[in-house]
């Protein structure tokens, strides 16, 4: 961002904020871990007028994964003949009794992969192991899992399965607004999720709750453009879907990716850390893909019970809802740091706690 651009954005945003009726605070929520990091890294909050507050919502896929799912993965990693293949961010997330990292140190089988394609490779190389891919992530990641399941079927790979904790973002936005606990006047919508679902997907939220929803890319300038677009709508009394990231996001999204998701997954109620169970927010494998569903294949109760899970005083759930800022958690920066994280928001590079720890409150 150049200095001249920053000044221009500041003027635009200040003018729009002043034009919003009333004098109360205006709260904009971002629901994308990459936005969280971009905002903290650039110190963008400090550029905004006092009236405008940015708050991070449930945008970090590792963070929103429920404790029951983490515990189920840890359990699988300890079973004979099972290897859990996972993105690196997941291994340090503490479950109720252990983490994938600790389970691995104690002899469990955990393989870190960059992509679900690596998990397929592992299954091809290790026919003696059932390779279970920890399928976390939003609409950006889910199509890849769907493709992998269909590839496994096409080549008759018998020892590959996924444990699907994939999630749809929009039901979470709906749940946050319906819950009413946290003030949200507009949403900065996630750029790369929107590449898949399309900007049009936010229209029901904008219409039902009268909240502007603007899709933005991940540069600080893109976030500022998104903030300016939302504030202008609020000043004009409008609540529409906007898109300042049109170079990558089309209104209809990526139809092939959406078709892949729907072919392999069906909507299911799913538990989110901090938000509880949200109807139709999860993606369970369809019955015709049962052989690739680790939960069905291994007889795991699914969705896993969240009863009896414990998070040891960690307030990640409140952080994920935007109910508190990371530094308001008593563990933040003391018992819980990136070196010794207690909750997933400090573990993940996209978590609000790690972003605030690294880049400060602004």
């Amino acid at each position: 961002m150049t200095g001249a651009n920053v000044e221009q954005w500041k003027r635009d945003i200040t003018a729009a904020a002043e034009a919003i009726p009333g004098s109360g605070q205006v709260v904009l929520m971002e629901i994308c871990g990459t936005h969280t990091v971009a905002i903290r890294r650039s110190g963008l909050r400090a550029l905004l007028p006092k009236r405008v507050r940015l708050v991070s919502g449930p945008g970090c896929p590792v963070c929103v994964t429920s404790q029951g799912v983490i515990d189920a993965l840890v359990d699988l990693a300890g079973r004979d003949g099972v290897t859990v293949a996972t993105f690196g961010d997941m291994v340090r997330v503490p479950g109720t009794r252990s983490s994938l990292e600790r389970k691995k140190a104690a002899g469990g089988r955990v393989a870190i992969c960059y992509s679900v394609l690596d998990a397929l490779d592992l299954a091809r190389k290790r026919p003696d192991q059932l390779v279970v891919f920890a399928a976390v992530g939003f609409e950006t990641t889910a199509p890849g899992s769907a493709v992998a399941v269909e590839m496994a079927r096409a080549e008759g790979l018998p020892n590959f399965a996924i444990l699907s904790a994939h999630k749809w973002v929009i039901p979470a936005m709906d749940a946050l607004l319906a819950g009413g606990e946290v003030r949200i006047d507009g949403f900065i919508c996630p750029g790369h999720v929107s590449v898949i679902i399309g900007s049009r997907a936010y229209e029901p939220i904008a219409a039902r709750y009268r909240r502007p929803c603007v899709v933005a890319g991940f540069s600080a300038e893109q976030v500022l453009a998104g903030v300016a677009a939302i504030l202008k709508q609020l000043a004009a009394g409008e609540a529409r879907v906007g898109n300042v990231y049109a170079e990558a996001v089309r209104p209809e999204g990526n139809p092939e990716a959406l078709a892949r998701i729907h072919r392999v997954f069906e909507p299911a109620d799913a538990a989110w850390r901090g938000l509880g169970t949200i109807p139709a927010s999860g993606m369970d494998l369809r019955a015709e893909f049962a052989e690739f569903d680790a939960a069905r294949r291994l007889g795991l109760p699914w969705p896993p019970s969240e009863a009896g899970t414990s998070e040891r005083g960690c307030r990640c759930g409140d952080v994920i809802r935007g109910a508190i800022e990371p530094h308001e958690c008593p563990l933040f920066g003391r018992a819980c740091t990136p070196v010794h994280p207690i909750g997933p928001c400090m573990v993940s590079r996209e978590g609000s706690c790690q972003a605030e720890y690294k880049y400060g409150r602004a």
Partner: protein, 72 residues
Amino acid sequence: MCLAVPGRIVTKEETVGVVDVRGNRLRAGLALVLEAEVGDWVLVHAGFAITTITPQDAAETNALLDQMEGIG
């Protein structure tokens, strides 16, 4: 994990290819961008190309990533 990075398709065999991401050659699933051909720019997320982008968008995003790496 939300982040997708620009890459240019180097080879393509059916629905899997090799993509050059900032000088690193990575395998990437191409099943979600059926229209993409060798030489095209795509956004790559967790091992899959999720959309095609123009060379200009790729250059802008790469410049931004350079900047972020410089600071971070």
